[in-house]
């Protein structure tokens, strides 16, 4: 099963700090999943319908979603029949292959890092529902790019939630970067406008615009986001260069609806999945990719400022499905 071995070699060969952290961070979530897969393989000496039923259960319990889970299991079943495989170990490898290929085929090549504009400030808009970790993720992203010697400006566009402005201000002080904040209940678009103008003045490399959390079925709030985007474009026509949707790893099937709604009004270019240091498997990102083609760009693995990593499909699937072996 070439791909799986390839995956593993690729990761083992990649003896970076990143890998260790990834594996450590994902440890709790993957331990569960992978040990179950392995237990499954060892309990069945040959493959039958019960085996596939359990496989389906494992996928559904990782929040992959009923439809995608059935799709993957059916495809695996078919392959098993065609190739006459009966060893459960081999089937698990095939399963990972399937997930990998299906993810990779859903869209173009994926570049995780923010796409910097060739000229002038690059704008990143950060959106999502309430309580997923937008502000914390922004702090982590700012840290990442400050470390890369970029001049970062934060824009506190959440003028609605009590304490949101202060939260980002605390981060800006800790990070030592400039921030443009608004007043409570000020139109977020005008804060964004001020932010972009300021960014041009100080010649910032990266302007990160925070937004208030909003549930995707609130038409007016979603229209507000579209307005923010239009206002930003008045100052910098090609902005926002990237729009990140933040998704909480504990999110269930509603995640796909979230991604769809936010994509419609802000043209989301990537997902950042947060809180992956818990026991949730975050399988919803596979469903989002499957239905909408939006790739995951970064992954949040803890509460510290450094706990943000580039998303790496190999490592994700490896960590999730087969990691506990060594």
């Amino acid at each position: 099963m070439g791909l799986f071995k390839l995956l593993k070699e690729k990761i083992v060969g990649k003896s970076t700090v990143q890998k260790d952290k990834y594996v450590a961070g994902l440890d709790k979530s993957r331990r569960n999943f992978s040990s179950r897969l392995k237990a499954l393989a060892s309990r069945y000496s040959k493959v039958d319908d019960d085996y596939f039923d359990e496989l389906e259960q494992i996928l559904i319990e990782a929040d992959v979603g009923v439809n995608l889970a059935l799709e993957i299991v059916d495809a695996t079943k078919k392959d098993v029949r065609v190739k006459g495989i009966s060893n459960p170990d081999e089937i698990n490898e095939m399963l990972v292959d399937k997930m990998f290929v299906s993810y990779a085929q859903q869209g173009d090549d994926i570049q995780n890092e923010i796409k910097f504009a060739s000229d002038g400030p690059t704008v990143l808009l950060v959106v999502g529902v309430n309580g997923v970790g937008k502000t914390t993720t922004i702090a982590k992203l700012a840290k990442r790019y400050i470390d890369q010697k970029k001049k970062v400006l934060l824009v506190a566009g959440d003028t609605f939630r009590a304490g949101a402005q202060e939260q980002l201000m605390v981060w800006s002080k800790r990070l030592g970067c400039e921030i443009v904040a608004g007043k409570e209940n000020q139109d977020p678009s005008s804060v964004a406008y001020d932010g972009i103008k300021r960014g041009k003045e100080i010649n910032a490399d990266l302007i990160i615009v925070d937004t208030a959390g909003r549930l995707q079925n609130k038409v007016n709030l979603m229209a507000e986001l579209s307005k923010m985007k239009r206002v930003i474009q008045k100052e910098i026509p090609l902005a926002p260069h990237d729009t990140f949707l933040i998704i909480d790893a504990t999110t269930g099937q509603n995640g796909v609806i979230q991604a769809k709604a936010f994509k419609e009004c802000t043209d989301v270019t990537g997902v950042v999945i947060t809180k992956m240091d818990g026991t949730s498997k975050g399988g919803i990102i596979l469903a989002i990719r499957d239905e909408l083609g939006i790739p995951v760009r970064f992954i949040g693995l803890g509460e510290r400022m450094d706990d943000l990593e580039e998303f790496d499909l190999d490592q994700y699937l490896y960590g999730l499905c087969l990691g506990g072996e060594e």
């Binding site: 529902v129 609605f160 009590a162 504990t250 509603n254 809180k275």
Partner: protein
């Protein structure tokens, strides 16, 4: 597309079942499959779904299908009843202490809505029960979390105990207790920092607080959007602490909230309140039957009825009713009715509560709202005489009204036609009513 209601799912299958007198294993198989998918899509835990579907099967097989209802409806009813059963047949409220402060401790994962809900609870107890409430800022970790609670406290005029971030949460809780006894607070709500259930250090901290203040209620916050893992989270919190209830937040979204069902079933912890919006009053007592409807995508009839009863001015309604019966319904009454409907809040919210209506998109709802505003503008541009006797509106009057409301004559014709239609159907209703063929209102 992804989330059809169970009733929609059944629509196709039901046709095949027509004419069958009993529910059997074979004729129910497809339906059970649909139930399973619907529940999984609603984020009900896999194991719970399995058990649940088996229960429904046992209950349903052999049931006679009444002539009036379709087999699909029968099954939906069984599923609904079972769901209500699982969610806890009664609603339960917060327990208040008699002669000492009631201590409520909030806990949950990051971003589940603890601070917001603490504020909402404080407001509810203060406003509806006239309690003296103290909010305690115990989240010393997240930047500006204390500011958030302080701001909320100011908004609702509830005192917030803010001891800064240098004191440990356990110490803060202790100090809060002292203060509550000294200053005779009725209710103390302790906000805590969000934490992962597997973070042993922070979980220990919660245990210490619990030990120290012996709270009357320990409430776990659960996000309505939670997926399959929610049961693991809740079980761990329940093992470490003595949870007395759950609050489900963000139910104003379009997530089905199936996690609520799973948690209640697997841990036995009842759901006490639900958060239904970002405003400080958006907190409701939990009703199991309504939640069951939501999980099934069936709309919420009871809520609708209650909402309508609360908001509609009964006298006004009676007046138009009498007029209607006498065949004297005019444009004034039409306007009054419209304003009443407006008062019920967003049309969308209302429509969502009606079973069979979930297909209306937000966009269509907005359109309906625009249409309604147009109608209002037209009627408001008429003289009183015209509203009472629409038949006098001829061409020149139409031109004037059109100018007045910024629309054109065709819009006015449309409205007048609509009104005639309404009047006609009301006449029919009234004659039915008078001949005793309709029940009294």
């Amino acid at each position: 597309m992804a989330f059809e209601s169970l009733q929609d799912r059944f629509a196709g299958i039901v046709k095949k079942l027509r004419g069958q007198s009993r529910l059997t294993e074979s004729n129910m198989e497809e339906m059970l499959k649909e139930i399973r998918v619907a529940l999984l899509e609603a984020d009900v835990n896999f194991k719970v779904v399995k058990e649940f579907v088996n229960n429904v099967k046992e209950k349903a097989i052999g049931q006679q299908v009444f002539t009036k209802v379709s087999p699909g409806q029968m099954v939906v009813k069984i599923v609904h009843d079972e769901l209500v059963n699982l969610l806890g047949a009664d609603q339960c409220d917060i327990r208040f202490e008699m002669n000492k402060p009631t201590i409520i401790m909030m806990c949950g994962l990051q971003g589940s809505g603890k601070t917001t809900t603490a504020g909402k609870l404080a407001r509810l107890f203060k406003r509806k029960m006239a309690k003296k409430v103290l909010l305690v800022a115990g989240d010393i970790y997240r930047p500006a979390a204390i500011d958030q609670l302080v701001t909320i406290g100011k908004q609702i005029e509830v005192e917030v105990l803010n001891l800064g971030t240098s004191m440990s949460p356990v110490e803060i809780a202790k100090k809060a207790l002292e203060k509550a006894y000294m200053e005779r607070f009725d209710v103390v709500i302790i906000d805590t920092a969000g934490r992962l259930h597997i973070d042993e250090v922070l979980m220990k901290e919660l245990q210490d607080i619990e030990q120290e203040v012996k709270p009357t209620e320990v409430l776990l916050l659960v996000d309505a959007m939670s997926g399959q893992d929610a049961v693991n989270v809740a079980s761990t919190f329940n093992e470490k602490l003595h949870l007395t209830g759950m609050v489900m937040s963000k139910l104003d979204g379009d997530a089905r909230g199936g996690a609520a069902l799973s948690i209640k079933h697997l841990t036995g912890v009842p759901i006490k309140y639900i958060g239904v919006g970002e405003k400080i009053d958006d907190l409701e007592v939990f009703h199991p039957d309504r939640m069951a409807d939501r999980i099934l995508g069936m709309g919420d009839v009871v809520s609708l009825v209650e909402k309508v009863q609360e908001e509609i001015d009964e006298k006004q309604a009676r007046r138009s009713m009498t007029k209607m019966m006498d065949g004297k319904f005019d444009l004034n009454d039409m306007l009054a009715q419209m304003e009443q409907i407006n008062r019920l809040g967003s049309l969308g919210g209302l429509l969502k509560l009606i079973p069979g209506m979930p297909k209306i998109s937000e966009e269509d709802q907005e359109k309906a709202k625009v249409q309604m505003n147009k109608t209002k503008a037209i009627i408001n541009s008429m003289t009183m005489e015209e509203r009472k006797h629409p038949e006098i509106i001829k061409n020149s009057r139409k031109q004037r009204i059109a100018k007045g409301c910024g629309l054109n004559a065709t819009d006015i014709n449309r409205l007048l036609n609509q009104f005639e239609q309404m009047k006609k159907s009301m006449k029919e209703m009234s004659s039915l009513y008078k001949s005793g063929k309709m029940p009294k209102f």
